[in-house]
Structures are given as C-alpha cells and as structure tokens.
Symmetry: C2
Subunit: 614 residues, 2 copies
C-alpha cells in the first residue's frame, strides 16, 4: 500500500526542505536549517525577499550558505543548493529566475482511476469517480515537483469524461483540499474543462458568443476562484478528436478561448488552449489533406486575436509525440500569441515506460530549434502513477526530473541533467555512473533507429501504441500514413506535395525542401523517396533502413548487457531487468517486422547478408 | 424498455402455441386449438405420444390437422404446421425427427451485461453481475427458439469471467428460475464452466487426475443437477486463448474432458468440449507452425479416448468463422468421438449485423462437405441481444431462424429456408418477396468478393474485426497471416509447405493440393501463388482480385438499391436503410483498401482501367 514511501526517485538524497514538512507557506522572513552532505554539515540561512518572486540567489557564507528568494524562490534555492552539493555540480551564480513562467505537468487522470496513456499504474488521486489519496503521498508529490521547479499541476485528463465536470461543481471543496496539500511546494492546481459544460446546466448551447454561456462561465469562474484563489487556470482541448468546441457554433478558436479567458481574467487565471486540432476522420485516399499542416493552417490566421491571458499550448511536433518530428512550425510562426510548448513524459509511443527512453537529448534539439523568442510557458504530459516507484520504469523518473530543470533553464545541457539525476538517485561509483549516464543519453537514438528510422513515424500498433505494425494505421482515418509501395516510401511534403514545408521560415524551409539538405532523421518525413535513393554516405535508402534496424536492436542488446552490471537498489534492479528483457523482445520485433515489411515491398537484399525473414 | 414486444422477428405470424403461453409442460394427452391462417380457420388437435420424443407427425383431417408427437414433439409439430401454412410450404410428411440430437445456441454473455462479439445490444438476461431480465422476454425467447427447434441454450460466455463461476454456486437458484422459463418451449439450459474453478475453493490444483478435483466436480454436478435436473450439460473452453485447461497439469484433453464427463454422467449431462485450441502466441517468423493444423494435430491422436457423454465441438473451419474456409478436417477425421459442428450466427467477421450476410448458402456448403456420418450435435454462437429487434439488423434474424431449421434437417435447402423466413416475417407481394429472397441468398457471395476473395482471410481490422486492414494481423501472434509480398501472396499448405492439406481424406487432399484443381474460393487458402498466376478462366490472379473487389462493391450497391424499394414495417425499414448506408461505406473501404494494398505490392494495373488509389 505504501511501498511508494521507500521509492523516492531522486528525492532519496533530498532532505526535507524547511520548515520541516513545509505544510504551511514560509511565513518567517528568516529561517536557519542545518543540512548534511556526505557527512559535512552546512548551515543554510533562508532570507525571504519577496521582490525575487520565484527567483533566488545562493551565497556562500562562513558557516554554509545564504539562500535569498521570494516565498517560493527560497524553496527553489534550497533545492538547487541541495542538487548542486549532492551531485557535485557548480553552484548557481547570481540571481536565478525560471525562464518559463508557467511550468506545467498535465495529468491525464480520469476520475474512475484510469490514466489515459498512463504507464505507471492508476491515478494517484482519483479512484471510483472520487478523490482517493493518501495525503502523505500528495505532499511527497509536491516535494518531487517543487524540487525541480514545476509550478502547476493539471489534475484531470484533457478529455474531460463524466464526472470530471463536477470538479467545477460539487467537488470543488475537494479540489480545494487537494490544492492545499501542494501549495507549500509552490505547485498550483489547474483543471481541464469541458467546453460544452454549460449544456449540462440547462443551456441549449455552448456558443461562446451567447451571453448566457458567457454568464455561466463567469459564475463558474467566480465560484472556482473563490474556492481556490491561486488556481493557475483552465486547460482546454476543444474541437479535437471528437471533443466539443467553438467550431460547433461556427465560432473561431479565438472566440472560444477568449470567452473562457475573460471569465477567469479577473482572478489572474490563464486559459491554456491546446492546438492539437486536426481532421481525425481523414480519408486515406485523400493525398492533399496532411495532418501535420492542420494546426498551422487553423491558428496562424488567428495570431493576434487571442486575449492576453490565453496561452496556446502546442505539441513540439506537428503530429503527436512521435520519436522524431520536426518542430511544429506554429511554434516558430505565431508572433502575437502567448505560447506554451507541450512535451510528453508519458512514453506513449516510445516504449510505455517498459522500454528505456531518456528524453533530455530530444528536448535539447527541440529547444535549440525553437529558440527563445515568444514561448514563455511549458507543459508536459505526466508519466506518474500509483506504482510504488511512481514512473513504471525506475529510470523513467529521469524524464520528470529533467523536465523540471529544462523548464527552469532551457539552456540546460542534456548530459548534465542526466548525470545530476543519476547522482541524486543512486550511489554509484564513477565507472557505473558513467555507464548509466552514457546509455541513458544514447537510449533515444537507439530507439529511433529501430522504431522511427529516417523520420518514418506511425509504424506502431494502432490503439495500444506499443510495438511495430508498419501498415496498421495505413488505411485508417487518423491521417498517419507512410504510403510504402514496391518502389518508394514516405510522403512528399514539399511544394510539389502537400506543401507542409512552406509553413516553415525560409531557412528551414529551404533545408527541408530538398532531399539533399534535409537531415537524414527527417528524410522520409518530408520526402517520398525510392528505395534505391542514394544517401549522402553512398548507401541506398533501403540499405540505410536495414542498417538502422539491425544496429538499433544490436545497440539495445549492448545497452542491456551494460546496465545489467549496475549495482542498484534491489527493487530498482529487478524492475529494470524485467523491463529490459521486454525491451529486447520489442527491439527484436521492431527490427524484424520493419525489415521484413520493406523487404517484402522492395525485394532488396541486405548487403551484409543479415537475416531478414520472408 | 419493452419495444421488443413489437419486434417479433418471424414470430409475427406465429400464433401462440398451446396451451396458451405454454408456461407449463403439456400434461394433457390431447388438446385442441383453433388457429387462423389468412382468415381460414383450422382446428388443430394435439395427440401426445411419448414414444415419438422430439418427433412429430402431421396428419390432415376434415376440420384441420392432427399433430401427434412426444412432449416436445407436439410443440415442434405445431410450429412446423404453422410455418408450412403461413409460408405456403409443403406440409412435412410422415414422422419427422430432428437430425441432430443436441441443437445448441451458445450465448457469449458476460454477467456484467456485455456480450463478447455481440452486435445486438447487451445481454438479455445478465446485467451488473446478476441476472436481470423481463420474464416475458425470456418466454418470448423460448418461443423463438422452440419455434425453430433449438433445444439447448448455453447461458454464459465460454470465456468464463468472474463472477460467472457463481452460476454453479450461490446463483444456482437463479439459474433454476431462468431454466423454468424456457422449459415449456423445449429449451434446456447449459452452462459454460471454468476448468480451474476448484482452485477458487481451496484446492491447490485443477489437475483432472487429482481425486480432490474429481470429488469437487462430482459434488458440484450433484448440486447443479439437483437444482436443474434437465440441465443439458457443461460447455468448456480449455487451454485456449489463455483459458486454463488440463495441459497445465500435463494431462490430455481426453483426461480433462472425461473427468468432467464422469462427474455429470449420472445425471445424463453432456460434456461439450470445444476443439478451438491453437498456439495464440505464434511467432510470425515461424513458417512451419500453421494454425489451421492445430486442432487436428491435437485431437486426432485422442480419437477413441473420450467418454460416451463427451461431445467435441468443432468450428466449421480450421480457423475461426472466416467468410470462406475449407471444412475442418477434424470433422471428417474423427470416427470414434461424438462431435458437434459449431457455427457462428454472431457476425463477428462478416459485418457485425450492420452489414447484410445471410448464412444459409454457406451452411448448405458446409453440410454437403461434412456429410452425415458421425456428427450428431450442432451449436451456433448466438446473434441475439437486448436490442428491440433482437438481432441488430432486422434481417439478421434470418440466420437464427434458418439455423434452427438446418439443425432439424441438414438437408434443408438454403433458398427454401430463406423464403420461409421472408414469408413468416414480412407480408410482401410476390415480386418484393423474390427481391428480398434473392439478395439475401446473394449477400454472402457479395461479401466474400470484397472481403475474402480467393480464400484470403484475416485481412480485417485487428480486435474490432470490422472493416479492412490487410496487414493488420500480419506480424501478430495469432497465426493469421497472408504473407503478401511484391511477387506473391498466400500460404503454401501442401506437402511442400505446412502440410495442412494432408489432414484431409484422399479425395479432398488431392483436389486441394494442386492449384489447378483447388476451388477458386480456396485458392489462396491452400496455395501461395504469384500475382501473374493464370486462373482457369485465363485471368491473372491479381486481375481476379481486382475484379472481385470491384464487382463485390458494385453488387453491394445494387443490393442496396433493390432493398430500398421494399415495403417493410417502419422500424425495420429505417434500421435496414441506416445499416445499408454503413455497409456501402464498408464495401467501398474493402474494395479500395484491398485493391490499393495489392496494387502497391504488385504494381499491376487493372486491365479495365478502374480507379485504384495510390
């Protein structure tokens, strides 16, 4: 029941912050605490300075350290200090402030206790259509989130299933209680809301321009913020995958979002509106409609029409958290709208927290591509659940940890965050620490080789999204095609094809538009190429596909061998080994299924004569 | 709630049998009733003659008819008389007896109210893990079954999910009540049992050779038959698709079945043991293991080892109710075992009671292939549910009706049973009656053309089993492959391939073994053939595939046009039209997806230049 108490992820070496369990906000202007690091005592003085807000500054003193910061800033400062001293990293210098104002964790928890695309057990706080949790565990959750600077938690699934609407209604006192548990850790609550909810209260419409609808939401917002004055905001998935939205009433998404935004503006609430909108009833025969185009086509014309407290939340790629996608052009295109970058810690496509898949290297790429102009908020779909170890695979905690660090500082280096997590979580001798760090850093590129080589996405088992099925989605309505035939594979997204590439700024557009300059990892995302296309290194496309799949599976095997040598706590080791066996089976399946699939189409033999099944 | 009362399927013109609702068995030796047929009064005299058992004889008299028969035989005789007079068919002559002793309807109803592979709504008698039904509806069900001679109903899913085990325990009195409702109609109850059930009662094994296990089943049988002395028997799915069974304990299926059979033998119970056992964790790389071989390989060596009250229930084909399969060789091979033929009325693969698919022509083929030597029992998976019209598509009732008639007389003609159902169900003028009869008779061959041409099965959407997905199952563990590549398609099941064909008696074996003599409909079931293989009529294989798919979809369209003209009761017409629209979309999808799939592999163009999408 409470095995989680022994499974603290990186909190293993994180002493409790101050005061004690920090059940109440830090009221004292000054507080002193002794912390121990490897037997060495440090006296840490906390100096409250409201002007710093979430920021902090750490200053060495004769006895230890002074941490100066605002109400939450002090907390972040202490955690940063602990991380630095525990992981022997450099101390943060000068005043540090988070880059993203809103650093969200989006839970897709349903009130029946299931978690949509959850791979770490059932919901930590919902069960049987009610709140059901151990308050100690929620405080621990707060500590986990606060320790890496995450400042908002969306409680419920963006697909708002009954009775989650009641969170705004009779369950509001329960939300209030829950929020109080997380508040001491700087974590504010958000709620996913159902755009059509007024219609469950006697209205015959949810039209955002209808005054009664506006009134209903104003009343609701008033009631909600009275109960939870620091609620961070509402999250909305509208007109997406059969969810209701403003399009039903012939209204734009700006009209829909602004209506809600105005209802919550008096309370400082943010209206986070997901841009994950596309035609999910596409006809595969239609080669003009192109799902990756959808968000840009819909939202770019609305740039400038959104109210100031609307944040448009955009998935990092134009599809849906595939292993390799180009950056969503919408993140580069919209200049007059507040944006949030959406990531997914839940490993929906890359191995479902059975397989190892460390995300920091991917985020480094995404953040480099995105630059730092406009985006000032970030969200990630949670990978947490009721499992003792919180994240299914014990190493999957790395992704939550690193997400927090990247959300504070998007210039973070992948290797540094990975190594910090390793040091915080396990007491490994240097060689083993290097081994674990190395393979974590490589795990994504290994996965990519056997599951998404050259940017071919969606070769995954429909619905479950675990394991290969290259043609499983090929004739379905989701707009996720690879269009392999006996001669070629991929979709032409240049001007001659679907034109998707034209959504990018000139420099990227030109790079992506020509197969010669398009990065290998996105070659088949942007282009339809024959199997005998010559890659820059002289290999044919089909040979490269074969090579990647053989190499990826082989590297997974080498990774398993290396990780087996680690001296880990028993439960972590057992779970890691069990899952690694499954990953190896999965990697072999990816290798053989995809190679056979393309061998059957192309008829090309592997130049190295490796086994490809008929 | 009770819309079903107005939706009587073929019972529309079936007067109540005698006495009245026949709530009690027919006790009187003689009974007289007046029945009306098209305004003409007939006096029917029932003469009870126990020696006839289920048999009956109809004799014209001056005032009407005498029906002589045993307790249930009289009932069947009256229904036969009513059918003959209503449908203007020939009167049955001489003493008629059912060919199959046990004529079962297997319901796959779960106690939570769901129906596995059910397409007509939720369970009629289970809901919320309890019995929940309208007794009037169960009596009506009894009347439906009795009117076509079905004499056993298995209440619960062969996959026995908790708490269905309780049907043998504390819920036994409820089963008894339910059985009493059906008894007057000659319908006896059966129960699906869980082979591992003793382990839920303190035993550490379900080993059939363990005396405690045997004792537990003896006690259970005693209790069950004391409650329901005419219970027809137990149905068992063991060692199949992850169900428990004797293999767990290193015992044969004969040992497993006999143990149960001996427990129930004192009460005259039948132990119906399903032969649907195969490796459902197959590796697609393995081209030697061949699922269609499985049942024969397992059971033939056991022929002669089963007790006399064991019935081995064998699906008509070696796979799983595909649209076109050869007859299971086990039905031809086992000579010393009592066998039951298993059919499926539920349209799991052919359109799920959305699409039109009349089965009598298929049954005619199956029964002709099977001959009449050994098989003396027949079972069909039910197509019934809580829908007002009982069967999803109102025309799907035909399959239940005809199944009953075939189970009495396996020499029945498809056209005659279809026409009889049409006449019993609708009052159509002759031209419309002919139209409906014609298209019902053609519906299966139309479906076959676009969904299973040349015996290619399993090109269906995994799990849901509705709509095309030619490669959806290709790399999965179920043993259901088509192995299409750029040159050829199909599986070689001759001696040079998996050897499956050797399971057939010589004459069939020789016919199937050579592509030239193998029937077109099974060509790709038994053979792997190149796309340019020449069919007997000179067409290439690929052209035949294209032609079938174009023709099938076109014929579906013609069928829809013709059926739209029918003058049917309003609800039936509305439902038929709604479903026909869906079928047309589905047919188009089948046509285009399968044609595109093979076009992408083969590169062959359609000789007639019809549209095949890229």
């Amino acid at each position: 029941m409470d095995g989680w108490k022994k499974r603290l992820a990186w909190l293993r070496v994180l002493p409790e912050p101050v005061p004690a369990d920090r059940d109440t906000p830090l009221k004292t202007a000054e507080f002193e605490k002794e912390l121990f690091f490897g037997g060495r005592k440090e006296t840490v003085r906390l100096l409250k300075d409201d002007a710093l807000g979430e920021g902090y500054e750490i200053l060495p003193t004769d006895l230890g350290y002074d941490v100066r910061g605002g109400e939450t800033g002090v907390l972040y400062g202490v955690y940063a200090l602990i991380r630095a001293l525990t992981a022997a990293s450099a101390l943060p210098r000068g005043v540090r402030k988070p880059y993203y104002d809103l650093r969200m964790l989006d839970s897709w928890d349903n009130m029946d206790g299931t978690v949509e695309r959850g791979y770490a057990g059932r919901s930590i706080w919902f069960e049987g259509n009610a709140f059901a949790y151990d308050p100690a565990r929620i405080r621990q959750l707060g500590r986990m989130l606060g320790s890496v600077g995450i400042n908002a938690l969306c409680l419920n699934n963006v697909n708002v299933h009954q009775p989650a609407q009641r969170l705004l209604e009779d369950l509001l006192p329960k939300v209030r209680e829950f929020a109080a548990l997380l508040r001491p850790f700087g974590v504010r609550i958000m709620l996913s809301v159902d755009f059509s909810q007024p219609m469950q209260h006697g209205l015959d419409t949810a039209d955002p321009l209808d005054e009664r609808v506006q009134g209903w939401w104003r009343e609701t917002a008033k009631r909600v913020w009275e109960a939870i004055p620091d609620l961070a905001g509402f999250l909305v998935k509208a007109d997406s995958e059969h969810r209701p939205g403003p399009n039903t009433y012939g209204r734009t998404h700006a009209e829909g979002a602004n209506m809600l935004a105005r209802a919550i503006a008096p309370y400082g609430g943010k209206l986070v509106w997901r841009a994950f909108v596309y035609n999910c009833m596409q006809d595969w025969r239609d080669t003009k409609t192109d799902r990756p185009r959808a968000a840009y086509d819909l939202y770019m014309p609305l740039d400038g029409q959104f109210d100031g407290n609307v944040i448009l939340q955009i998935k990092h790629g134009p599809y849906d958290f595939q292993i390799r996608e180009p950056l969503s052009p919408l993140l580069l295109g919209m200049k007059k709208t507040s944006l949030a970058l959406e990531l997914q810690l839940a490993q929906e496509y890359p191995g479902q927290q059975i397989d190892l898949y460390a995300m920091p290297p991917m985020w480094r790429e995404i953040l480099d591509e995105m630059g730092k102009e406009k985006v000032r908020a970030v969200a990630a779909v949670s990978n947490l659940g009721r499992d003792d170890c919180w994240t299914g695979h014990p190493f999957a905690a790395l992704n939550l940890f690193s997400y927090g660090l990247f959300s504070w500082d998007p210039d973070s280096e992948a290797e540094e965050t990975v190594r910090q997590w390793v040091r915080m979580t396990y007491a490994l001798e240097k060689g083993q620490e290097d081994t674990l760090t190395e393979w974590l850093l490589r795990s994504r590129s290994i996965y990519e080789k056997y599951a998404a080589s050259l940017g071919l996405c969606w070769m995954i088992t429909p619905n479950s999204h675990y394991g290969p099925n290259p043609y499983g989605y090929e004739f379905q309505a989701w707009g996720t095609y690879i269009r392999a035939d006996r001669n070629a594979v991929g979709i032409d997204r240049t001007e001659k094809g679907t034109g998707y590439v034209s959504q990018y700024p000139e420099k990227l557009r030109e790079m992506y538009a020509r197969p010669e300059t398009c990065p290998d990892g996105l070659k088949l995302f942007f282009h339809r190429l024959p199997y005998d296309y010559r890659m820059r290194d002289g290999r044919t496309l089909i040979q490269r596909l074969y090579d990647d799949h053989f190499e990826g599976a082989e590297e997974a095997r080498a990774m398993a061998e290396a990780l087996k040598t680690l001296e880990l706590p028993e439960a972590d080791k057992r779970e890691m080994l069990e899952r690694m066996d499954k990953q190896l089976l999965n990697a072999r399946e990816w290798r053989d299924v995809v190679n056979t699939f393309f061998h059957r189409f192309s008829g090309a033999e592997d130049e190295q004569g490796r086994k490809i099944y008929d």
